[in-house]
C-alpha cells in the first residue's frame, strides 16, 4: 500500500519497561488486591499458587496480576465489540493483584469466567490472563490459567497453538474447593508464556 505517509499519524516511541525491583511491596499491593470478587460471593473460589525460579526456588518478590471475563463471558469495557456489560456478579472487578509472600505464594479470590467468542466464529475456553512482574523480570511475563476438565479446552485456539506436551502448564489443578496454578519461570517445568 502506498498511501501518503503524511496521512499516517506520527508514531511516538514507546516508553520501555523496567523491573518492579525488590521493593515492589512499597507501592503495588492493595488491601483488596486479591479480591476479584468480594468475600462471600456465591460460587467464588480461591486460585492459589507458587512462583518459582529456574532453580525451583520460590520467588518472594513477584506480583501476580489477573484479568478475566465474568461468568457470562462479558467485560464491563467500552472496547468489547458486543458492548460494555456490567457484571451480574455484585462487586466483580475482573482484576486481581497479589504479591507473592515469603514462600513465593499468591492467591486470588474469583469466580470462573465464561467462554468467549472469537471473530472467526470459534470459541475461547474460560481463561484468566496472568501477568507476572518481579525483581529480575525486566518486563512482565504473560500466561493464562485454564480450568481442568472443561471440554472447551480441547478446541481453544490458544491452547491448540501451544505444543501439546506443554499445554498442561496452562491448566490449573483442582485443589480442595479451589484451584492451584503454579508458575515456573524457567526450567524443566517451565510455564508457557505468551507474546502479545
Amino acid at each position: 500500500m502506498t498511501e501518503p505517509r503524511a496521512m499516517v499519524p506520527e508514531r511516538r516511541g514507546l516508553t520501555p519497561s523496567q523491573t518492579v525491583g525488590p521493593f515492589l511491596h512499597v507501592g503495588l499491593p492493595w488491601p483488596d488486591g486479591p479480591h476479584v470478587v468480594p468475600e462471600g460471593t456465591p460460587g467464588a473460589v480461591w486460585i492459589t499458587g507458587t512462583v518459582y525460579d529456574g532453580d525451583g526456588v520460590p520467588i518472594p518478590d513477584a506480583v501476580v496480576e489477573t484479568w478475566q471475563a465474568d461468568p457470562e463471558g462479558r467485560f464491563d469495557h467500552p472496547d468489547d465489540p458486543r458492548g460494555s456489560a456490567r457484571s451480574q456478579v455484585e462487586g466483580f472487578r475482573g482484576f486481581g493483584r497479589c504479591p507473592t509472600d515469603e514462600d513465593g505464594r499468591y492467591a486470588v479470590h474469583t469466580v470462573r469466567p465464561g467462554s468467549l467468542p472469537c471473530p472467526d466464529g470459534s470459541t475461547e475456553a474460560p481463561h484468566v490472563n496472568v501477568s507476572v512482574l518481579g525483581r529480575g523480570l525486566l518486563d512482565r511475563v504473560v500466561t493464562r490459567i485454564y480450568f481442568p476438565g472443561d471440554d472447551a479446552n480441547h478446541t481453544d485456539p490458544v491452547l491448540c497453538a501451544v505444543p501439546e506436551e506443554r499445554r498442561h502448564t496452562l491448566i490449573a489443578a483442582p485443589d480442595g474447593d479451589g484451584f492451584r496454578f503454579d508458575i515456573w519461570l524457567q526450567g524443566d517445568r517451565e510455564t508457557v508464556f505468551f507474546a502479545l
Binding site: M7, V26, G54
Partner: protein, 243 residues
Amino acid sequence: MTRTWSGATVPWYPPPEGVHPPLDSPEYRSTARRHPHEPLVLLPQRLTEITGPVLGDGRVGPLDHDLTRQHAAEPLGQRIIVHGQVLEEDGRAVPQTLVEIWQANASGRYRHARDNWPAPLDPNFTGVGRCLTDADGYYRFVTIKPGAYPWRNHDNAWRPAHIHFSLFGRAFTQRLVTQMYFPDDPLFSRDPIFNSVRDEKARERMIAGYDHDATQSQWALGFRFDIILRGQHASVFEEDDDD
C-alpha cells in the same frame, strides 16, 4: 490502527518491537534464573487482551498524589513536581487511567523490611503515590527527589535515582511498569537496569526533562515525564506498512 470485529471497530496494539529490555539481560544478574528459556507463544489480541480493568476514583485518596503531605510534617529532601501525559503511540491521550508510583526517600532508602542499608528512614515519607489521569491524559505528583542507593549486583553498584511507575492504560495489552530517571545522572552508564534497554533513543524516553514552566517559584522544581503506551487508533488504514 483498528480492526473490525462483527462490524464493530476494535483497537489493535502493535507489537513493541525492539523497545523493551530482553528478559535475559546477563548484566542484571537476577535475570539469570528468572527468564523463560522456551520461546514465547503468540497470543492473538482477542477480547481478554483488548479489554482491561477500569479502575476509577475508588482507588485514589485525596492526598495520594502528594507524597509530601501524607504525614504529620513534610519529608526531607528536594521538593519536586513530576507531571506529564499518558499517550498512545499515535498521540491519543489515555484519560482516567490509574498511575501508581513508588520510590526511595531522599537518602535513597525504601520503607521496606528488606531494605536495610545504612541510610536513614524518614518518618514523614512513605514513598507511594496514586492518581488518575485527567480527560487529556495528564497526571501530576508532588514528591521529593529520591536518592541513589547501593545494591549488590556487582562491585560498588549504585542505582541512579528513579521513581517506579505502574500504568494500566485501557487494555491488558497496554500494562506497563517502568522507572523514571532524572536528567544528567552520572550513574546511567554503569547501571545494568537502565542499560537493559538496548536502544539509546528508547533509554532516553525513561529520563524526565527539567520543566521550568512547571517549576514553581519559591517552592518546587518541575520535571516532565510523558509515558507512551502501545496503541494506535487514529489511522484510517486497515493494514499499515509500519516500519
